[in-house]
């Protein structure tokens, strides 16, 4: 496994140091414990804090900044962060209004954020993202949180910026999360630095359908097929789950898992768009690109969010982070 790396143990910090310098206009990075915080926190707002194992970049560190997260706590690659990180981040960015944690639903993340919440000495609530429909809704520990996290963080981030209350944001976050469904497909495994290789290998004619974002196996190994056929399976699964109606407005997010080209992602977007267009569903907003990656996995996920007018307004609200930007004036690249 060839990567640009000096040592597995120093990878995360060296990378964060580069991130801090490349985006010194937007963020500050603390190393012990590790968290990325936005440079200027608007006073009197609820602090939005997320985090999770590294390896999904730009999620979450790339979403720290105006209109989105106040802080992100990166764990080691694919390993949940530890409670002391969340506590330190909260201390740095939270005020009287308390903290809203946005957590992807994985045992490790849930437990570590929970410990942090218990130790925190300000009010906090947690929005659990569990958009991955690869697992049945009744799954014992709930579904996994995957690419829908970006949508939740963007919309709730905009609302937090407006000074909304903790309870309000929790309700909103849950609403976005509940209206969001994702499904992922892997064409290859990913190469985990600490393992020196892929978590799984796929024969040339197989794909992992319903794959997670940590190099876990998918729901099932399926036959490789044309893009049209693969995407059909993906969108039908989502459609069955969310059941958007004719005239409903939705956000369509096609997310690359790492090694899949933008050309392919836009092609997948086209096919998914066509499907819902035929169904009479209005694709009101869209996002195509690598936002929630699984290191260098080849593959993609499709996410659909049913939008209401408030969600659209908040999606459109200005955001200026390393990885997601629109609507802000006079914000030089890194001036």
């Amino acid at each position: 496994m060839k990567k640009f790396i000096n040592h597995v143990d120093t990878l995360l910090d060296e990378s964060l140091r580069g991130f801090a310098k490349a985006h010194a206009d937007l963020v500050e990075v603390s190393f012990s414990p590790r968290f990325v915080r936005r440079k200027e926190v608007a006073p009197g707002k609820v602090a939005l804090i997320s985090g999770g194992g590294a390896g999904h970049e730009p999620l979450h560190t790339g979403f720290v900044g105006r209109g989105m997260l106040d802080a992100a706590c990166p764990g080691q690659v694919f390993t949940s962060p530890t409670p002391d990180q969340m506590l330190a981040a909260a201390e740095a960015v939270a005020g009287d209004q308390g903290v809203l944690f946005i957590v992807k639903n994985y045992a490790g993340d849930v437990m570590n954020f929970e410990m942090a919440a218990e130790m925190l000495d300000c009010p906090s609530r947690t929005v659990l993202v569990q958009d991955d429909i690869a697992l049945p809704k009744e799954h014992e520990i709930g579904r996994r949180g995957v690419a829908g996290t970006t949508i939740v963080e963007k919309i709730v981030g905009a609302a937090a910026e407006e000074g909304r209350s903790l309870d309000d944001l929790k309700t909103l976050g849950d609403r976005v999360a509940e209206n969001t469904a994702s499904i992922g497909v892997a064409l290859s495994g990913c190469h985990v630095p600490a393992l020196g290789g892929p978590t799984f290998e796929l024969p040339p004619d197989k794909i992992e359908f319903g794959v997670g974002i940590h190099g876990e196996h998918g729901r099932e190994i399926a036959e490789f097929a044309s893009a049209t056929e693969i995407v059909k399976r993906m969108v039908e699964a989502i459609n069955e789950e969310l059941q958007p109606k004719r005239g409903d407005k939705v956000l369509l997010h096609v997310n690359g898992l790492g090694a899949t080209t933008l050309m392919e992602l836009y092609l997948v977007y086209e096919l998914a768009h066509e499907f819902w267009h035929q169904e009479g569903v209005e694709i009101a907003r869209s996002l195509v690109g690598n936002y929630t990656t699984a290191l260098d996995m080849a593959g993609c996920s499709v996410t659909l969010t049913r939008l209401d007018d408030e969600m659209i307004r908040l999606w459109d609200a200005p955001v200026h982070t390393a990885a997601l930007r629109w609507g802000y004036d006079h914000t030089g690249p890194n001036s």
Binding site: G53, V77, S80, D84, Y106, A107, I141, V192
Partner: protein, 210 residues
């Protein structure tokens, strides 16, 4: 009794010796980071050897270890082991370290883990190793068993618990995503729990024969 650092060393050596095997388990059922997570935690404990050795109060030492594990391991196992050690520390506060007190603390510890993980035995996790071990120690302490015998028998209990995960379906942790695909493979956390328990038991037994 051996100093804490020696026990940590023994646990780490056992994990190191089986790193590949366990990584393979966590790659198949999870995300492959379990060994690295534990190694990072145990190494961090070792780095504090002097401070830990200096504390002759078990409760304080366990609390310090809990904090280190909490901030170093991460993942599911990090929060669970941190919870275990925090509870052990709390339970043993002001108490003498002996089998009975330890067994009682451990029972409380695994209860806390169940709460933290919203899980119980039979779900193909480290609890399948730890819960029977806690129960056995409680029983052994009640019966006033010889410590040498306990140290021998506890290994069999841990191993049996670990082995029991092989044919289970997983309902907690990442392995639960796999459904039937998880059957036939031992849970990584159950295996490392067993490895560490056996290593520590051996180290303690060795010490007692000196």
């Amino acid at each position: 009794m051996p100093a804490i650092p020696e026990l940590i060393q023994a646990a780490l050596a056992a994990i190191d010796a089986h790193a590949e095997e366990v990584t393979e388990l966590d790659k198949t059922l999870g995300d492959g980071d379990h060994v690295t997570n534990l190694q990072r935690g145990l190494k961090a404990l070792l780095a504090q050897s002097d401070e830990l050795a200096a504390l002759d109060d078990w409760s304080q030492a366990l609390q310090k270890m809990a904090m280190t594990l909490m901030s170093q391991i991460g993942g599911a196992s990090g929060s669970l082991y941190a919870t275990l050690f925090m509870t052990l520390a709390k339970q043993l506060k002001g108490k003498e370290m002996n089998l009975a007190n330890f067994a009682e603390a451990l029972e409380a510890g695994v209860e806390a883990m169940k709460q933290r993980g919203r899980s119980d035995v039979g779900e193909k996790t480290m609890l399948d190793t730890l819960v029977p071990v806690a129960a056995y120690l409680k029983r052994a302490a009640g019966e006033g068993k010889d410590l040498n015998q306990v140290l021998e028998e506890v290994k069999a209990v841990a191993t049996e618990g670990m082995e029991s995960t092989r044919d289970m379906l997983a309902t907690k942790g990442r392995a639960s995503y796999l459904g039937e695909r998880a059957r036939g493979i031992v849970d990584a956390g159950a295996r490392t729990g067993q490895l560490m328990i056996c290593a520590v038991a051996d180290r303690l037994a060795e010490e007692m024969t000196r």
